[in-house]
Symmetry: C2
Subunit: 304 residues, 2 copies
């Protein structure tokens, strides 16, 4: 099962990257696309993110074999309802949402008669919108596919091969486990980053210009993910509430323990904790999930 006609609903970072990646790695496939914002459609056409930018979602999906919804989690249901009648009965419907149980439910309610297999490419940058996408976004990144039970194996295989063609490594997982794993590897880090950047900008004793000036001491790392799309992330936290709150509870317990160690001057506890966390960095680099160069290979150290 090789999808020849692919419709992309939502032409931001994810949708745009899929369009460009299909052109690069699946040159025989045809892509159509739609975004509810007229200015995004215009920019998508200028950048040729898809072969054909349509004026309605219905027009984009009409002949599709694969429809991928690339909109924020809270917009999935409405986006699907808007073109439900136009999606061919034989088409596979998928998405790229960062939470999977809630999105599967929303798509299922909007498209009760279609085959839906949700997916989540664990890839992105802090940029968003139709200018943010690029063809290599999914190279050597994981794409988690969360098929319902039972699933159409032919369509599932087709979806796996589609993501592999775009450069991703595919993992099959149930939606509930996905939401727990991503709560810790993605959602909690974003929440923490958003929080600390807000805390820093609110301090009256330290001016904003000082925070910016001395950000190379560590703070700047957090500002990157705290610059991510606010709509998308609002939706992620609301749609994966239970798992996020559980991870947050554990994080807070651990932070309280380190806070106490600082307060009582317990250097051994701090040292033991700080030593333990180094191994994870090494594993991430060994598995090709981050840049091995010091400081992520940032350009200001390019002179090494």
């Amino acid at each position: 099962m090789t999808f020849q006609r692919i419709a992309i609903i939502g032409l931001g970072l994810q949708g745009g990257s899929i369009g460009l990646a299909v052109r690069e790695y699946l040159p025989d496939a045809q892509t159509t696309g739609y975004d509810h914002l007229p200015e995004t459609r215009a920019r998508a056409a200028e950048r040729s993110l898809v072969d054909q930018v349509c004026e309605t979602a219905a027009e984009a999906v009409r002949e599709a074999e694969l429809v991928i919804f690339c909109v924020p989690p809270s917009a999935m249901g409405e986006a699907a309802r808007a073109c439900a009648d136009a999606i061919p009965a034989t088409a596979l419907v998928s998405d790229v949402g960062s939470s999977k149980q809630a999105v599967a439910k929303a798509l299922g309610e909007a498209l009760p008669h279609h085959t839906i297999i949700p997916a989540h490419p664990v890839a992105g940058t802090e940029n968003s919108g139709p200018d943010a996408g690029f063809a290599s976004l999914f190279q050597n990144r994981w794409c988690i596919v969360t098929p319902p039970e039972p699933s159409n194996l032919l369509l599932l295989t087709g979806l796996v091969e589609f993501w592999e063609a775009l450069g991703a490594n595919v993992e099959i997982m149930d939606a509930q486990h996905h939401d727990l794993v991503l709560a810790v590897t993605s959602h909690l880090p974003h929440l923490i980053a958003y929080t600390i950047v807000g805390t820093a900008s609110d301090l009256e004793a330290v001016t904003q210009s000082e925070v910016i000036k001395y950000s190379a001491g560590g703070f700047r790392d957090f500002t990157r993910i705290a610059a991510s799309d606010p709509t998308m992330w609002r939706d992620v936290f609301l749609s994966n509430k239970d798992a996020v709150l559980e991870m947050l509870q554990r994080f807070t317990e651990d932070l309280t323990a380190l806070q106490k160690a600082i307060r009582v001057g317990d250097g051994d506890t701090l040292f033991e904790h700080f030593s333990r966390t180094r191994a994870i960095r090494r594993s991430i680099i060994a598995e090709g999930q981050d840049d091995a160069r010091p400081d992520f290979g940032r350009s200001d150290h390019g002179k090494i």
Copy 2:
């Protein structure tokens, strides 16, 4: 006042980088160096981090015009006492410690008859030890100098010009304000990163291999600074306890507010907060304090 003979005590990331930077940017100056670890001295000699690696600290400082202590905050006092008698009375004593009030106190007690002007280059990578240093570490980074009142203006000017020669922009600040500013721009981010990496590695429902696999969703950013030198960071938190605990208190309040917004489904509060934090990222990039490329310009997106 141009320092011609510079002694560096401690030959890790900071000390080694200073040695290499002096050779690159102040080629007329002579450097001596010492580290209490024999293997670090041997590696420093192999890499020629300084012109002469000495077997004792006293030997390294004997003819110095500028002595820079590049050891963890808790080791400053002992390192200074070990060579106090050998430091020339006219020499300027400085350091690179990440907390300034505690280090100034420790150096002052160890060297009551010397001129001490502490400094803190806000630059580093997650690597440590004698292999971590490089000559361009301080280029376009800030170095904060915290002179006591009153200070010898000739020596202060000499220290400022020294750091400027190494490529840094110098800011004069009082030690207390330094400790507050760095608590938020550097110390709190490190504490948060160490905490979340520890939280993730302790989860029983999510395997460590899953955390590593899907780290590109945000988590990997935190693992970089959580791979920093445990000894150094234990000392930073213990030596800047009050400011760190104050910032942590504010962070926790803000996190609790966002947690509540998630729990009650208050999307407006989340969206408002997440929108506000984007501006800081833009300012950091505009001021040349971070890489403007998406995702820090990590190599896996080099194909853009």
